[in-house]
């Protein structure tokens, strides 16, 4: 969808247009059939291709979990960090080399439970990085336990009769912590998602995009949802409402799921503010 259209005769029939950004020797990847992480990752690669001229100045950082494998599949500088620590690592990269475009690609458990504190403080400081959170509503890699994002009443291995807790509203948390760009899409909205990631990469300041994504093997199976049913739910339940108030964005599939771009503002980034305050003269 991005870049110049290629004529059929010019391309090698068995080369996917994203192969130049993929470690193709590791493909097929480990993600389960019907898992949405691959689609979110593909949108991310398309966005990088479209918005970053110098690919040597792009770095991807992931934490632990299914989505955390992302950093291992991109053929650019990347780092697979310890659990929950993708954002501090990305912060270090950006401070050490402010020219870099640093993109964090990780999951809801890694970014909001194990690494939740890092998320809120990077947003508060307005670190100039882009955070993409694949939200599959549970801890997929470890067998489908309830997470901080599991919807109320959903079944998981640790909530066999239904989750008694309420999930985090991730865009609200990003907004309240100070993020300057906040959006939410599903993998079904692959195009909007790609454009949104492009916008987020070009945006100065802390950008956050939540991507709702099916986990058919662990979450779907226990909630009687095949992967195509999950996509159907995204199609039927989602409403695109740009600038919706972040407080109105809870993930309750029994009602509707609001998608769109909710925040796009400007304030001094961490580095700008540091220079202004501490590097006098």
């Amino acid at each position: 969808m991005t870049g110049k259209p290629k004529k059929a005769a010019e391309i090698n029939q068995m080369a996917h247009p994203l192969d130049d950004l993929l470690r193709t020797d590791r493909i097929p990847h480990i993600w389960c059939p019907g898992c949405g992480i691959g689609t979110a990752f593909s949108a991310c690669l398309n966005a990088i291709k479209a918005s970053c001229e110098d690919l040597d100045k792009v770095a991807m950082v992931s934490g632990i979990g299914c989505s955390g494998r992302g950093a291992g599949y991109i053929k650019l500088d990347s780092f697979h960090t310890t659990h929950g620590r993708a954002i501090p690592f990305a912060t270090g990269l950006k401070l050490g080399n402010p020219e870099l475009n640093v993109i964090v690609f990780s999951g809801d458990g890694d970014l909001f439970a194990i690494g939740g504190n890092h998320f809120i403080h990077a947003a508060r400081r307005n670190m100039d990085i882009t955070v993409i959170c694949v939200n599959n509503l549970n801890y997929g890699m470890t067998g489908g336990q309830a997470a901080a994002t599991t919807p109320y009443n959903a079944k998981t291995t640790t909530t066999p009769v239904g989750n008694p807790e309420s999930p985090f509203n991730l865009p609200l948390m990003a907004y309240a912590s100070g993020a300057t760009y906040v959006a939410r899409w599903t993998i079904l909205h692959a195009r909007d998602l790609t454009l949104s990631i492009q916008e987020a990469i070009n945006k100065k300041g802390f950008s956050f995009i939540e991507v709702l994504s099916p986990c058919p093997i662990n979450y779907g199976r226990r909630n009687k949802e095949k992967s195509l049913d999950t996509l159907k739910a995204y199609q039927d339940k989602s409403i695109i409402k740009n600038n919706a108030h972040p407080a109105d964005l809870e993930t309750d599939f029994s009602k509707s799921i609001v998608l769109g771009k909710f925040v796009d503002t400007d304030r001094l980034t961490c580095i700008e503010s540091y220079d202004k305050t501490c590097r006098l003269g």
């Binding site: 059929a8 493909i27 990847h29 019907g34 689609t39 593909s42 398309n46 079904l188 992967s227």
Partner: protein
Amino acid sequence: MAFWRIPLDAEQIDVTRGIVYIIEDRCKGCGYCIEYCPKQVLAFSKKFNKKGYHLPEAVKPDDCVNCHYCENICPEFAIYSAEASPSAEAVSG
């Protein structure tokens, strides 16, 4: 696409034509491309790939409009479309 009325300028609109390519051994048979192709170009074939997954095949290849949606929704980097060359268009068009 089904129209409730044929647009008056339907004859003059140039619809892009595409060719869809499937990298068989990457596919995991999720069916997303089949379900969401706007032109119903794809369907499950009887074939399996080397990992035992059921593959899509282009059953109406001439209907592909090169929209790239199959390419965008595929989680496996296993399918993509490219613009059909003018000669291909002449053959089937």
